[in-house]
């Protein structure tokens, strides 16, 4: 590993690789991703996942105040429902005027603080598999009023209108746990390839640029190699391509071997890690920015994340839990923070007994405070990862700490007993 600085970017975006992997191209790296007007994001890092434009249970003022997240993932399907009696209405988000504070429609509609970088995708994370499937010019999306077809043209128009900082063009995905057969996989690659070609050719004559992170499909490299080489050969030299959105980070070693030209691009993972162990795996593969749906789900289950990176220096006799079930009776009178020394907004003003009470009483604030804590723990975790990577022998130190982490903590999350808030 060497200390070097490489810059990649445009007027709107810059990505600086502060410490790149040397030799085998797919490895953890340190970087900084910055968009004009937004708070720069030191990588590796994660972005929050919104539901209908909001980080669940957190009002936008508290996103700014308590949530240490640099970015937010938004799904277009959360904004384009067609209520039965008003099926022809234009989705209001396409019509909202930007303001001096919220200079894009996406920020303006969701009141997301201006410091937060936005990422737009067609589908939620994770997405509900559609029984209808995609067509050659549309993806099937799931809105609050049901499944509907989103044409690739409407999606591009939406990206131009909403002006997210990062747009992920449509990909032909199944959103199913079943691996597609090779015929289907090949069609996924061909369609995504065509859609991206269309996307960039439309954008060529457009006055509104869209910072594009091209999808990398969750299918074997040999099936999508043509598509991926086109990214490197056609769209990279023209600076149309700004980054990669990977639905399977395990493809990074192949990318490093076969299309090394793509390596300087920032890499966003849209593959949901199921535990922090999986997060470390993605980081080790060279992912810069992660999306982590489990943060929202563990909060809803009444769990407080309880891990740190690097792990505690004295290895425990038994693996530690990754999260604590705050509904457990032992928290009823605990005046301690949710986890020791936690600097999050919930722990600095409240204690475990209050969260325990709120969960027992099914008060909405319990979920708000857990969200603040869980996002805070995750922010500290990534800061720890970056500090480790920044050491003299960063790669070795990270590998070592990752091994210790695997031994220090349990493999999976405990089952949370919290019930969804009533509201």
């Amino acid at each position: 590993m060497t200390v070097d600085t490489r810059e990649f970017g445009s007027a709107a975006m810059s990505f600086e690789i502060l410490r790149a992997a040397l030799g085998d191209g797919a490895a953890a790296r340190l970087g900084r991703l910055a968009f004009a007007g937004r708070r720069p994001i030191d990588t590796p890092n994660f972005i929050g996942i919104t539901s209908r434009g909001a980080i669940p249970h957190i009002t936008p003022d508290n996103v700014a105040r308590h949530l240490n997240v640099g970015g937010a993932y938004m799904a277009l399907e959360d904004f384009i429902e067609r209520p039965q009696q008003y099926s022809t209405r234009t989705p209001p988000i396409y019509e909202i005027p930007p303001t001096a504070k919220h200079q894009t429609r996406l920020h303006s509609f969701t009141a997301m603080p201006p410091s937060v970088t936005t990422v737009l995708g067609a589908r939620r994370l994770p997405a509900v598999a559609s029984p209808m499937g995609n067509t050659k010019s549309s993806v099937s999306v799931f809105t609050s009023t049901g499944f509907q077809a989103l044409t690739t043209a409407e999606y591009l128009a939406a990206a131009q209108s909403l002006q997210p900082d990062i747009a992920v063009p449509p990909a032909d995905l199944t959103h199913s746990p079943i691996t597609p057969n090779s015929k289907r996989a090949l069609r996924m690659a061909e369609r995504t390839d065509e859609w991206l070609e269309e996307w960039f050719s439309e954008l060529q004559d457009s006055p509104t640029p869209v910072t594009t992170f091209a999808p990398v499909l969750p299918i074997p490299y040999p099936i999508q190699w043509e598509y991926l080489s086109r990214l490197a050969e056609d769209y990279l030299p023209t600076a149309q391509l700004a980054g990669l959105a990977l639905y399977d980070p395990d493809l990074l070693p192949d990318l490093a071997s076969f299309v090394p030209a793509l390596l300087p691009l920032p890499r966003l993972s849209l593959s949901p890690p199921s535990t922090p162990h999986h997060i470390l795996n993605q980081i080790a593969l060279g992912i810069d920015l992660l999306t982590i749906p489990f943060i929202n789900t563990v909060s809803d289950a009444g769990l407080a994340l309880a891990f740190t990176f690097p792990p505690p220096t004295t290895p425990p006799n038994n693996p530690l839990p990754l999260a604590l079930d705050l509904t457990a009776p032992r928290f009823a009178t605990s005046l301690a923070p949710l986890t020791p020394h936690c600097p999050c907004g919930a722990c600095t003003t409240h204690h475990a007994a209050y969260i325990h009470h709120l969960l027992a009483a099914r008060e909405m604030l319990g979920w708000t405070l857990l969200q603040a804590h869980n996002h805070g723990v995750m922010a500290a975790f990534f800061a720890g990862v970056r500090a480790t990577l920044a050491q003299q022998d960063g790669a070795a130190a990270f590998a070592r700490a990752r091994g210790e982490f695997a031994r220090a903590y349990e493999a999976g999350f405990p089952l949370g007993m919290g019930e969804r808030p009533c509201f």
Binding site: A54, H57, T59, P60, P92, I96, A100, H357, M364, F423
Partner: protein, 410 residues
């Protein structure tokens, strides 16, 4: 102790700042163990030690200096043992300002159909396991002492005001007086917690007067008018409030329990009341309702889907204040509509707005009283709420006429 304009007792000071020269409205400063509070005031209800998803910091930012917790709920969860271990409800919820608690009796009677009142206390079946339980004045005091509220309420014998049983009404009134004596005797922290009496007597003004005299003789630091959120006609409600305030001393805070519609606040203030509480503003937020000076708007209606204005024009709450101002969130009606009944944040934003509306209404009322222009304020308030004066509620017109304000005068 009382000077010309100030009353002090061990855990409270009350300073009368101004009196309206027309109505009975008053502006005052109430100093409690957790800070000073400007009256008149609306107090939001954080039933289970939390205000519908707002963080205590968000609540503090609305300017709230005094909010409610419900003794009945806190007695069940987290329970007295936990409250004692944690060190009270302020500590439990991270709230450094003032708290007021009810006695728990009213909620028992209204939530538990099988509650049954005897001289000893309120008998009921535990909602946990159905076992018979008893809430006595002593037990209510003990719970409220554990909670550590700045203002505690006596246990009273609550009867719906519309009850036709005169004998039972008298019994309830007299029993409430006896229970106050038991509460005073059982109250362990009079140096740092205030116990307020509650005037009962239904709609019988003579009985109310009698109750006032008995309660006043017990010299509690503050006085509540109780039993009034039970569905009586608004005319009757106003008569009871007016009848009581007439007899109450100038230099003690007066709390009308359980009311909270904006019209109720404005009229009751004119009748000389200082403190109000109600769950309605926060409960209605969950159903997508925004309180505005032009009435309640339901944000779920399609007409707001593409309305990019604030929840209420001119509102100073963090959701609505102009987007270029410090602390503005920049929430639009469209975004509230988008998430109403779908994401909790929509309820949180409306709660923030509604609480702000209620607190601000009382702030403006107070300023008007100090400037001795409360009648003008009242007229403006009703003018905003009803486009056509012929729609003014007659109970409000009559009640205000009784204190020298003619709403229909042009």
């Amino acid at each position: 102790m009382a000077s010309n304009s100030t009353f002090t007792s061990p855990a409270l000071a009350f300073e009368l700042v101004a009196k309206c020269s027309t109505t009975r409205a008053r502006a005052s400063i109430l100093t409690l163990p957790h800070g000073t509070v400007n009256l008149p005031i609306f107090m939001p209800v954080a039933t289970q030690a939390s205000l519908k998803g707002l963080t205590p910091q968000q609540l503090e930012d609305t300017g709230c200096k005094l909010c409610l917790n419900n003794t009945y709920h806190l007695g069940l969860k987290p329970g007295q043992e936990v409250l004692d271990a944690v060190g009270g409800a302020h500590k439990l919820q991270g709230w450094s300002r003032n708290l007021l608690t009810d006695s728990g009796g009213f909620q028992m009677v209204s939530l538990l159909k099988l509650a049954n009142i005897t001289e000893e206390g309120v008998r009921f079946l535990s909602p946990h396991d159905g076992s018979p339980m008893l809430l006595t004045p002593e037990h209510s005091m003990s719970l409220q002492n554990s909670i550590g509220s700045d203002i505690m309420m006596q246990l009273d014998d609550v009867l719906v005001t519309t009850s036709p049983d005169k004998a039972r009404m008298r019994e309830a009134m007299e029993r409430s007086v006896r229970w106050l004596d038991r509460c005073i005797a059982a109250h362990k922290n009079p140096d740092r917690q205030n116990l307020f009496c509650i005037i009962q007597g239904g709609l019988d003004l003579e009985m109310r007067r009698e109750c006032c005299r008995e309660m006043l003789a017990r010299e509690t630091p503050g006085i509540a008018i109780g039993g009034l959120s039970g569905g009586e006609a608004k005319d009757d409600f106003c008569k009871v409030v007016a009848c009581c305030t007439e007899l109450l001393p100038d230099l003690k805070p007066r709390y009308v329990m359980g009311i909270g519609y904006p019209e109720d606040l404005v009229v009751s203030t004119a009748l000389g009341a200082d403190m109000f509480d109600c769950v309605w503003p926060t409960r209605t937020a969950r159903f997508g309702n925004a309180i505005t000076k032009h009435g309640v708007l339901n944000m779920k209606k399609e007409v707001y889907a593409a309305d990019f204005g604030p929840i209420e024009d001119g509102c100073g709450c963090p959701c609505c204040r102009p987007v270029d101002e410090e602390g503005s969130i920049g929430i639009t009606r469209a975004f509230v509509h988008h998430n109403a009944a779908k994401e909790t944040v929509a309820a949180h934003m409306l709660t923030l707005h509604n609480v702000w509306y209620q607190l601000n209404l009382m702030r403006e009322a107070r300023e008007a009283i100090i400037a001795d222009r409360y009648p003008v304020f009242v007229r403006e308030f009703f003018g905003n709420l009803y486009a056509d004066p012929s729609n003014y509620p007659s109970w409000a017109v009559d009640a205000l006429k009784g204190v020298g304000v003619d709403l229909l005068e042009t």
